[in-house]
């Protein structure tokens, strides 16, 4: 057994909320830079150059990359040898989010009730996904998610007969419907298989995989590459104003499913595909 104080989790999450909102991960940074060179549309290039300037200003002046600093989505991969001390883990996580958003000058975008909509004023609660894994470490991923792109995300409950063509159509439909609303260039997270909720969760988690890393399953890797090419042929382009860079990556995760179903979750993310990862 390894003992971890929950205050350590609070401190880490506070810092990670601030870090993720001001700095992209190296893989995203690289992808955004490459896009400037490869984009064919003059206006598209101009927009991608503006986004380069935006990233520089964000880091240098500590102004969030985007004003929608998101709802804090947090993946906790907890080694089963770990024992937490000093309080309730969930409270510690939310305290980290609270301090990150309040002390870090991040926008408070969470309402306490979906219908009455009073702002909680500290961006809590977070959306927390726990996973038990072997070992005595805790891996934390903080992924603030903006809602311009979240609103364009979809779940399709396809039939087995729809097969891989059905999956391709679903992805293209979601991307085309999203268009300029999702602040392209996008990153497209896809979950294929599982159940209704499992495919959506896989899609969300797929967004945290580095954009330059392809699936280890050969047919899924091929599907990712084919869909990226198809999406970039739609013409949507940077800002939705026409061009050849509509997406930076398509990350697909799969899971076994039921004989009667083919669930497909598509989580659209904008170019501010934020996450910070730490192991404690």
């Amino acid at each position: 057994m390894r003992t971890i104080q929950v205050s350590q989790i609070t401190d880490a999450i506070k810092e990670m909320c601030i870090e993720a909102n001001h700095f992209l991960t190296p893989d995203m940074d690289e992808a955004m830079k490459c896009a400037v060179t490869s984009e064919e549309a003059p206006l598209g290039k101009q927009i991608l150059n503006q986004l380069q300037d935006n990233l520089k200003i964000a880091g240098a002046d500590m102004i969030p990359i985007c004003q929608d600093t998101g709802m804090a989505v947090i993946f906790m991969e907890i080694g089963q040898e770990v024992h937490f001390e000093g309080g309730i883990l969930e409270d510690a996580i939310n305290e980290g989010v609270r301090r990150g958003y309040v002390d870090g000058f991040l926008r408070k975008s969470v309402v306490a009730d979906p219908i009455y909509r009073d702002n909680t004023k500290d961006n809590t609660p977070a959306i927390i996904h726990y996973e038990m894994v072997p070992g005595d470490k805790v891996k934390i991923t903080v992924a603030p998610k903006g809602f311009g792109s979240e609103n364009m995300s979809r779940v399709f409950m396809l039939k087995p007969a729809d097969g891989i063509e059905g999956v391709k159509n679903a992805i293209l439909t979601a991307v085309k419907d999203a268009g300029p609303n999702a602040c392209p260039p996008m990153v497209v997270g896809v979950g294929v298989g599982g159940t209704f909720e499992k495919c959506a969760l896989m899609a969300k988690k797929a967004l945290t995989r580095p954009v330059n890393e392809r699936s280890s399953i050969p047919y899924v890797k091929e599907l990712e590459e084919e869909m990226l090419a198809k999406i970039n042929a739609t013409g949507i382009g940077p800002g939705g104003l026409g061009g050849t860079t509509t997406a930076l990556a398509v990350n697909i995760n799969t899971y076994p499913t039921h004989i009667a179903g083919l669930p497909v979750g598509i989580n659209i993310c904008c170019h501010v595909n934020r996450h910070a990862v730490r192991e404690i």
Partner: protein
């Protein structure tokens, strides 16, 4: 074509802008997003006046992040405009000349833009840090309790936007995509 334009927008300026123009706005604009629009709409329904005059003004669909010390505003990029589609036609009919946001608009909004010879601009989504540099001052003028969703009066200098729907109803989102579509 790059253009430098004063806001509030004159009728002449609004009519001379074409979809695809790159425009730098200087002057005064107002922010309002979902909650502020709902309140304004309800106020109009009760026959009350609005917190600001719509005549020739431009509304920016934006809710900023908090300002650090010494800065007028935090990150300040556009939010998705379609959520304001329900409310925009009534404001346009009251004289609103321009809207800044991102993303598609409904037919009803497009019709109201043409009817009133107004303009829909897009600012680059996700460029809030950069856009904040074109904002000289920010002052909450109504609905303070709404936090980031309050109505703010912004003084802007060379604020960069692109004309998406012009006063004739041309829509850049539709035309530009066709040009690069390789399907």
């Amino acid at each position: 074509m790059d253009q430098y334009i004063q806001v509030p927008l004159s009728n002449e300026d609004a009519e001379k802008l074409s979809a695809g123009d790159y425009v730098y706005l200087s002057g005064v604009i107002y922010t309002a997003r979902d909650a502020a629009h709902k309140r304004m709409y309800e106020a109009l329904g009760r026959g009350e006046s609005l917190p600001m005059d719509m005549d020739r003004n431009v509304i920016y669909y934006m809710g900023p992040s908090p300002a650090r010390q010494g800065r007028p505003i935090g990150s300040a990029g556009p939010t998705t405009s379609s959520r304001m589609d329900k409310y925009a036609p009534s404001l346009l009919d009251l004289g609103l000349k321009g809207m800044i946001g991102k993303g598609k608009r409904s037919e009803a909004v497009k019709d109201a833009i043409v009817r009133n010879k107004a303009v829909y601009f897009a600012a680059v989504g996700g460029a809030g840090a950069l856009l904040s540099k074109s904002i000289l001052s920010s002052e909450v003028i109504a609905y303070d309790d709404l936090g980031t969703e309050a109505i703010r009066r912004l003084e802007v200098k060379d604020f960069p936007v692109i004309v998406v729907i012009d006063s004739k109803g041309n829509n850049l989102y539709e035309t530009a995509i066709k040009e690069y579509c390789k399907e």
